[in-house]
């Protein structure tokens, strides 16, 4: 009808509003959940939750979880699980701690070594899964135990009997690489803002928020890169294909095994990144770091719309999923609920957020 249309309009297609198109993207499904949770806390929570400091406060755990969740989401889209990421956080944290504290290596050496080390463990995971044909669930579960156990043993060896390795902060404080992995970015900007009264300050005059925690920047960067890779590169196509149907993908010429092993390595590196950031921030590591993080990462990915069966999902979904999870967990402490009820609320909020997001999507897109 329209004269400029290059292709004649197809009478078999109804036109659909822009919003509908948006909601159809798995990337944006989880946004409805974020908005719902936001509204909930805007009403029930202490006003300080949505001050700058409050936002940074819930974004920090969300970011730490989110880095893992994005890795887990890519792996899930590729059709596999990695249950060992939580233990991997402890283990690579230990490795990193030993590098800087015991061996006194500069970050320049310690950080790449930690990543290489983690990637190697990931490759082992991946190769066992591929070669044996066993479900990745059971293989990485074994590594959940093995790595957790090795962290304990390693810590005791490194410290001479304690399960806590301390002194990381002292060892890394003055390293030029430290600002990229610990503390807050844009400190100067924030001091300036504080000095000019643009953001809240403590009585001492220091800004309440000294900067943006680096993990948040990493988190956002990772989400963008992962989304780009998934949607705009051949590798992304291979990931979807490998997870959708490994036989069909392999028959169509996708190097499924290579894709899967790479994803395992990537997930392990995400865990190592979280380990480096949290160990440097905390200045210490212990045998329980990252406990059950694998679980939370999978939760965040699923909230964000990834299918457990593989082949469907998005990194942005995992991004929003992590924010939902982080917001609920921290947000509840801003409300007046009794801690006894914490888990009840946590569960109910998750369920409602996901149901809501699902209902909205169905209503908008007219699926049945």
């Amino acid at each position: 009808m329209s004269q400029s249309a290059p292709v004649a309009a197809d009478e078999r297609v109804k036109s659909e509003p822009f919003l509908t198109k948006l909601m159809k993207r798995p990337e944006l499904g989880a946004m409805a959940g974020v908005i719902l949770v936001f509204i909930f806390f805007a009403i029930t929570a202490d006003a300080s939750m949505f001050t700058l400091a409050g936002v940074m406060n819930f974004m920090t755990p969300a970011a730490q979880l989110g880095i893992l969740a994005i890795g887990a989401a890519l792996l899930m889209i590729g059709g596999e699980f990695d249950l060992s990421i939580g233990s991997m956080v402890a283990f690579s944290g230990l490795f990193f701690g030993v590098c800087v504290v015991t061996w006194q290596l500069p970050l320049m050496a310690a950080i790449p070594m930690t990543f290489v080390f983690a990637a190697m463990v990931g490759a082992v995971n991946g190769n066992i899964v591929i070669r044996s044909g066993l479900p990745s669930f059971i293989v990485t579960l074994a590594f959940l135990f093995i790595l957790r156990g090795l962290s304990l043993v390693g810590l005791k060896m490194a410290t001479g009997g304690s399960t806590q390795l301390r002194g990381v902060r002292d060892a890394t404080e003055n390293d030029w690489l430290a600002p990229f992995f610990a503390g807050e970015a844009f400190g100067g900007l924030f001091s300036w803002l504080a000095a000019n009264g643009l953001i809240d300050t403590f009585k001492s005059g220091a800004p309440k928020v000294p900067g943006i925690p680096v993990e948040i920047l990493w988190f956002i960067a990772l989400a963008l890169v992962a989304t780009y890779v998934l949607l705009r590169t051949p590798a992304g196509n291979w990931i979807f294909a490998s997870g959708g149907d490994r036989i069909a993908a392999s028959n169509s010429g996708v190097p499924v095994n290579r894709v899967k092993v790479s994803l395992f390595m990537l997930t392990a590196c995400c865990a190592a990144l979280v380990a480096i950031i949290t160990v440097m921030d905390a200045g210490s590591t212990d045998a329980r770091r990252g406990f059950q993080k694998e679980f939370e990462a999978i939760i965040a990915a699923v909230i964000g719309g990834c299918l457990l069966t593989g082949g469907y999902g998005s990194a942005i979904g995992a991004f929003f999923g992590s924010i939902i999870f982080g917001m609920v967990v921290i947000g509840l402490t801003y409300t007046d609920f009794d801690q006894d009820w914490f888990q009840v609320f946590l569960g109910a909020m998750l369920l409602i957020a996901v149901l809501f997001n699902n209902a909205i999507r169905k209503r908008v897109t007219g699926e049945r």
Partner: protein, 272 residues
Amino acid sequence: MTEDTKFHHGDATDAAPIVEMKNIEKHFGNIIALAGVSFDVKPGECHCLLGDNGAGKSTFIKTMSGVHKPTKGEIFFEGKPLHFDTPRDAMEAGIATVFQDLAMIPLMSVTRNFFMGREPTKGKGLLKRFDVDTANEVCMEEMRNMGINLRGPDQAVGTLSGGERQTVAIARAVYFGAKILILDEPTSALGVRQTSNVLATIDKVRSQGVGVVFISHNVRHALAVGDRFTVLNRGKTLGTAKRGEITPEQLQDLMAGGQEMAELEGSLGGTV
């Protein structure tokens, strides 16, 4: 050579075969799917592989395209002994296959399925990326050429109709070009218009020197495009015939494995 079609039929006997398979056996656990099959394809010919259901045709071509490793037997590719570890190897050597189950990912879009494993890119270095626009255009165009007007390139393959899906698989195999094109019952779900397009396509690629392996249960389709006919039965070769050496009725009898058929001639005019 008979003159009963408008097709150009290659006279391929003189050329050396591109692929030669000798005495291929394939066992799955205790199941014997192939019990010694020999077969070859020459450039510019269409070699039909016929046979009853469960005769082993699909298993055989899967062995040819690197999906299965043969339990016994030799494969020669362009004269050299070779075996493919993965379908990707076979693809890179120049074997394009349309599998009977189509090898499509239901949750992915038509375009993504079309280019799966061989995505067009633009940009360089770190910015090298999947060229989605070109891909969408090519995909819609190729589908139109096959007689299918898709609603859009981003429809999930799982929601396509059976024939639309089959057409995607065929268009994909043809688009990328190859030395050998293997088609496992490519016309089974196709409409009349799409079928005639596929048969015409087979004819076209053959005339460009590609060797085509064509599996079908439709005697008439086979006779329309085939240069040679090999019939399998219960995992064994019943023999190979050249075009013109065999009548449709004889061929149909061979395909039925020599067993009696229900009587329903009449309008079917001799062949089903």
